[in-house]
Subunit: 462 residues, 2 copies
């Protein structure tokens, strides 16, 4: 075994080829939520298996009832080394509205920004292909220099993270023995800022629902029927408007059961991070926090539950005007959960609220789009402290423990089903525009991300 | 000159050819609101000019800044006969959602329904191509038998009725001398029922608005920003939900200025028509009137103003789920006006209401989609009484005077700009599904519609 420094140097030398490999992966249009891209999802899985096999992993594409998993195993260079399970996802979000992209979403490129910062452009560069490739390339540097890995490594890449992970639980259940490791490493999160790595200790849960309201049995002329016939868009607008009260609180029955106030020492630690409302909202062109009154943006996005309408449609939405009363109106609604809020109870409360607002001669259908509780990891553990120190060696500033507004349901599943603690480390930035046009991943995130995993693996191996 | 009976018989004999001509016109995809169909609109205008020229009219396509007008003139067979202006429109509504059509919208066919009734299927069969062709074919029967027409006839066919008629006023203004006649005959309305012809004496006005609300400067991840960033769909839902109060009244400032209660003798006459809530709403699968409480469906649709959302869209509306907070949300909203409600003041009140609900860090854009005041024609005039008696000769039941929920702005323009009284007679039925998939026109409406115009022209000629 050589020292970590040579491994890091090797990663630096590999960077041009590492980027080429990432570009190849980004070119695959693995949009999991749209059935039209099914073959592309499989192609991404097969590409990863080929890469990992080339690195000496025992890797395979594993079929599910949806998009396939990638599972790969590699022994440690020495007996008694710890065993880690690395998790990432190869699927990406849809790219619409595609006309708002400055570069083609599936033609990655390096762009130099004002000030000389370089970014990698393209859908999935930050979420999550660039992130998962940091780990693969870290393994490559180890193999290049040592011919072995410092820890036993199992890799699990999912292809349905952006569409509710329907196959994940059954797969973990069916393959628990194969996937169980000492720790899970999950790379799908952000840094605190460009200089400060972060370990996420809290993640919000998620409940997704789609509702379709039907009024008349056909689209109607608003002249002949307007004023007498029910308009499903009005019914929908009333339902959605009633989800929040004037103070920004969510009105569903029992919604706040399981929501605890954040301990004051945690809020105080967050205050020291120097994030202001102006800075957080200013970056996206806004200024006024929209949620519950009297709480910081960190608390609102990390520690408070939400109800958001993610999509709405009904009636005539084309060019010009059509004086129609639609037969149907639809919305996609999601709830972010914290503490011990129960996804099933939240879903039931939402459905019962919606149903109570539907006139007797109209109807509503519900479609479930995933559900997972929030996760709270310990703020103090050996795993966290080891990783914190390894990250602090790599980056200009020491690593910080933060909360996270997004949902990574697998962390809960790892805990519940495989009894594994997770380490959530990622190198995304808040302005990466994930899920939006012009997604990018900083070249520095990719490069120092690879170097960070080299250091973390070395630290875990002891 | 021969008697009316031979003209009517000739129309009967012509029917198969009359239908073929209507089919030719329906096949032209003249959707005026969608710029993709511009050439098809011109094609429809040219087809009509060719037909009218063949009938001996001095007909021409007349360019506007939008879709062209068709204007045609024909002298009367005898000096001193009255001069009528016949109005119809050759443009049609969009056909989406096209998958809900049982037959292709632009491939007209005759379909026999249970009970033996025959209907003509296709977009525009009832609104308004089938209706305008009843008049053209009435003229043909006269020409076939007499070689002349009983009245002097000017025809005006518009190609922008379904998209707010932007060119109509300027065209009437520029060609007032050419278009001025003794009466206008407008054929774009319904019968009372299958057996009972109707003359419409009141028409609601219309204001169309489109609003686009912008919050953040890009689409956001609802995990990272949810709870802190403004969601434009929530803002929009609140605005739309606030348009009506719990009693169904519209909340805009000054909205009911100019709205008079319907005289009790008119309401009493309407009651005798035998239209019940159950019948009116039952036909479209509904049961509960949605507008202002305590008013009949006739009052709600003929004599009360409305606010309707005709379309709404924002965020992710595709398959699956996307946890996005949209940058923008949009809606198309229309108001039906009655009495002397002022379209400009209603539009201003709406805009000021919407603007008052937009948070300081968000913005709204407004797009105007047409505006016209309501029309109230006299319930008693020589023109009306002549037409009433001619119609009563043709149909099983006597003609009735009714109100109308839809808007035909040209009636007001004829009155104001050309000083002409209009006669609103049409042969559509409430279940013709105009503006919806599976539009149809009854074969009886077409056939007896032709015969009705023959009788009306004879009666007007005296």
């Amino acid at each position: 075994m050589t020292d970590t420094a040579s491994i890091l140097t090797r990663a630096d030398d590999n960077l041009p080829q590492s980027l080429e490999r990432l570009f190849d992966l980004v070119r695959i249009q693995s949009i999991s939520t749209d059935p039209a891209y099914k073959a592309e999802c499989r192609k991404a899985a097969e590409w990863l298996v080929a890469e990992l096999t080339g690195l000496g992993f025992d890797a395979s594409v594993r079929d599910t009832s949806g998009h396939p998993m990638v599972v790969a195993h590699h022994a440690a260079g020495r007996a008694g080394a710890p065993h880690v399970l690395f998790y990432g996802h190869y699927d990406v979000q849809p790219v619409d509205p595609v006309n708002l992209w400055d570069t083609a979403p599936f033609e990655p490129s390096i762009k130099e920004l004002d000030g000389g910062r370089k970014v990698i452009t393209g859908r999935g560069t930050a979420d999550d292909k660039g992130q998962l490739m940091t780990f693969v390339e870290a393994c490559r540097a180890y193999k290049d220099i040592n011919g072995s890995l410092p820890c036993e490594v199992t890799i699990l890449f999912e292809g349905e993270e952006e569409s509710g992970s329907p196959s994940l639980k059954p797969f973990l259940e069916a393959n628990a023995a194969e996937l169980k490791a000492d720790y899970a490493l999950v790379c799908d999160t952000n840094m605190w800022d460009r200089d400060t790595p972060a370990i996420s200790a809290g993640l919000r849960g998620l409940v997704g629902e789609e509702i379709v309201i039907t009024a008349a049995d056909r689209d109607l002329h608003s002249g002949y029927f307007g004023g007498a016939a029910a308009n499903p868009i009005h019914i929908l607008a009333n339902i959605l408007a009633g989800l929040h009260d004037e103070t920004g609180r969510i009105t569903l029955d029992g919604f706040y059961e399981g929501v605890e106030e954040t301990p004051s020492q945690i809020k105080a630690a967050w205050e020291t991070l120097g994030m202001s409302t102006e800075k957080f909202l200013g970056e996206i062109g806004l200024a006024i926090p929209s949620g519950e009154k009297g709480r910081s943006v960190m608390e609102l996005t990390w520690a408070r539950p939400t109800a958001e309408v993610n999509g709405i449609w009904g009636g005539y939405t084309g060019e010009g005007f059509k004086t129609v009363i639609a037969a149907q109106a639809s919305a996609k609604v999601s709830f972010r959960l914290v503490g011990t809020q129960d996804p099933d109870r939240i879903r039931a409360a939402f459905r019962s609220y919606v149903a109570s607002k539907i006139p007797a001669d109209c109807s509503v259908e519900f479609h479930e789009h995933g559900g997972s509780p929030a996760i709270q990891l310990p703020y103090d553990s050996a795993l966290l402290n080891t990783a914190k120190s390894a990250l602090s060696d790599e980056w200009p500033k020491p690593a910080v423990l933060i909360g996270m507004g997004g949902s990574i349901p697998i962390v809960g599943d790892f805990q519940k089903m495989l009894g594994m603690e997770s380490l959530l480390v990622g190198f995304g930035l808040a302005d990466d525009r994930i899920h939006s046009p012009n997604e990018k991943y900083e070249l520095q995130s990719f490069h120092k991300g690879i170097r960070s995993w080299i250091r973390i693996l070395a630290a875990l191996a002891g």
